[in-house]
Amino acid sequence: MILVCGRTADPVTRFFCTRLDQLRTDYRLLDLSSYPSTYHVTYYRERNRGFGTISGPGWSLLTGDLTGVFVRNLEPDNSASGSPETRAQRVALEAEKDLGLDSIWAALDCPVANPPTSLWSNHSKPYQTLFIRGGRLQIPKTLITNDEAEAKRFYEAAKGRVIYKSMGARSRGTHRFSLNKMSDLVSAGKAPLQLQEEVTGVDIRLHVVRDQVFATKVYCEDTDYRLADPKSVRLEATTVPSSIANECIRITKKFGLLLSGIDLRETPDGRYFFFEANTVPGFAFYEERTGQQISAALSDVLTGR
């Protein structure tokens, strides 16, 4: 039995549940938007062994009967009525609530997509980028700086073909950099800004489900297709060389993930640049438009097939 742990308001969680229904895969939904009030959780640890039950409306599961867990907990709900007054208190209680479930997922023997401790690597994109160095994927020339003169030097060396993008988890997207944005973005006292030499080519989103790879080409005129009007984005299922696919499987494992969404760019001369590995990827957008069987692969892994 699969347990899906997410919010029904989240399109990916909803999509995955619909696909599980279509695939006739048994699952139970733990809806985080009504957790814990409509759920009963009791989990014991005795002599380094864990066991327990999770019960929702009309169902009850022994954790030992779980074959896999899909977790998608993106937005902590800090707005619940009756919650404490300060944001700090709400954040602390949300963290405590999340840690309770994470404690259970971390102790399970079955596959979890994704294990709680594996989710944090893309809180630092430069870390991810450098972590994969030495493999088959290229890293764009990057400058992280709060020094205007250095930013100008980098910009001129790249002949003005420079983008800037967030380093942390709270992404504000990728944007073209120009000297007239300089004073707003780079100066002593500001947080360092990540600048990258623009890489010419086609975006590829590559989903890895354990050892299966689903590559999608993304065509869009905008600098960041994630911020563009979805109607202006064209997706096309594609393949990548096996050396690149294997490298992405290796990266996914190295980050401790079962499911990843890796952002690449393929250059006209056949090189592949790595941008980031999403640890909670929104695969529904790609599957809906290409028909790739990402959910089915995930269902197989989580049912132990």
């Binding site: 009791t42 944001r87 405590e96 609530k97 404690s103 102790a107 944090w120 980028t129 450098l130």
Partner: protein
């Protein structure tokens, strides 16, 4: 030059700096990449080079750094009503700092994995496999939002029950109905964790292959020292704090702190811990130099 990076460990930062001074080791503290730090870091598929300048220090390259002692991740403000630009900037600074120290070539204690650096706390159960490998034991516990189950677990214990918040290392004895009443209020918001709680709490601080205890440990101390050193090694860390309570004839772990607080240690012990950290960074530095000269 050594860098003392991150939010200071209150009990240790000053002692560490003064002990460094005694052995003639120049050390400079950077709490975060804030307005006092000018930071430039350029890298690609092959090279990586960073330059910093901060307050009284003139510009220096990462090649001049010979050791880094990482303390706590900079704390993110979460007090405002909505997520602010300030909070975004803090997250960006933190992301840069983490990637930077992770990629330095010099010895770094600890070169933390991302989960430790960014998550509010790594669940104790995430340590379970490592703990088992080291022949140690995590405390028995219940996590529940059902009062009946919590009470029944507590009633079966041979010692007092304790409430152990998942977000922190300290357990609190549950001994009155008022305590249970308070926990019931919490239970509506998040399941709570109850453990057998038999103080005193023994705190072990591991530095490399040395172990310091906050109080004398009767019985097989050497055996526990070896297991805790093994646990620290398997976790990829060099500096770790572990909290244990008696569990019959054995000890059970109820908290593992990848960011040691050392608040349970005397000032004298903190001096010894600082000395051990210095010796560790020195030995890692010499080993690295020896390796590099062999490569030449």
């Amino acid at each position: 030059m050594w860098i003392l990076l991150g939010e200071p460990i209150t009990a240790l930062a000053e002692i560490f700096q003064s002990e460094c001074k005694k052995v003639g080791q120049h050390v400079f503290g950077i709490a975060e990449f804030d307005e006092n730090v000018e930071f430039n870091w350029e890298f690609d598929s092959v090279d990586s080079c960073s330059m910093l300048s901060a307050r009284e220090l003139s510009r220096f390259s990462d090649r001049e750094i010979t050791g880094v002692f990482v303390q706590n991740p900079p704390r993110l403000d979460a007090d405002s009503a909505v997520e602010s630009h300030h909070e975004y900037s803090q997250a960006e600074r933190n992301a840069a700092m983490f990637a930077w120290f992770w990629n330095l070539r010099c010895p770094v204690v600890n070169r933390y994995p991302a989960a430790f650096w960014f998550s509010p706390r790594v669940p104790l159960s995430s340590w379970q496999q490592l703990v088992i490998k080291c022949d140690l034991r995590i405390t028995d516990a219940i996590l529940s939002n059902i009062e009946r189950d919590l009470r029944s677990f507590a009633a079966k214990l041979s010692v007092n029950p304790g409430y152990l918040p998942l977000c922190g290392p300290d357990a609190y004895r549950i001994s009155t109905e008022e305590h249970w009443h308070g926990l019931n209020k919490m239970r509506a918001i998040c399941p709570i964790s109850v453990i057998p709680f038999d103080p005193p709490v023994y705190i072990a601080c591991v530095v490399g292959d040395r172990v310091f205890w906050n109080q004398p440990l009767s019985g097989a101390r050497a055996e526990y020292d070896d297991r805790l050193v093994h646990l620290t090694r398997l976790s990829g860390l060099d500096f770790l704090e572990v909290r244990l309570c008696r569990h019959g004839d054995d000890f059970a772990i109820h908290a593992i702190e990848p960011f040691p607080r050392l608040d349970g240690f005397s000032r004298d012990s903190c001096h010894l811990i600082a000395d051990a950290l210095i010796a560790l960074l020195q030995s890692r530095g010499s080993a690295k130099t020896a390796r590099e000269s062999r490569q030449i």
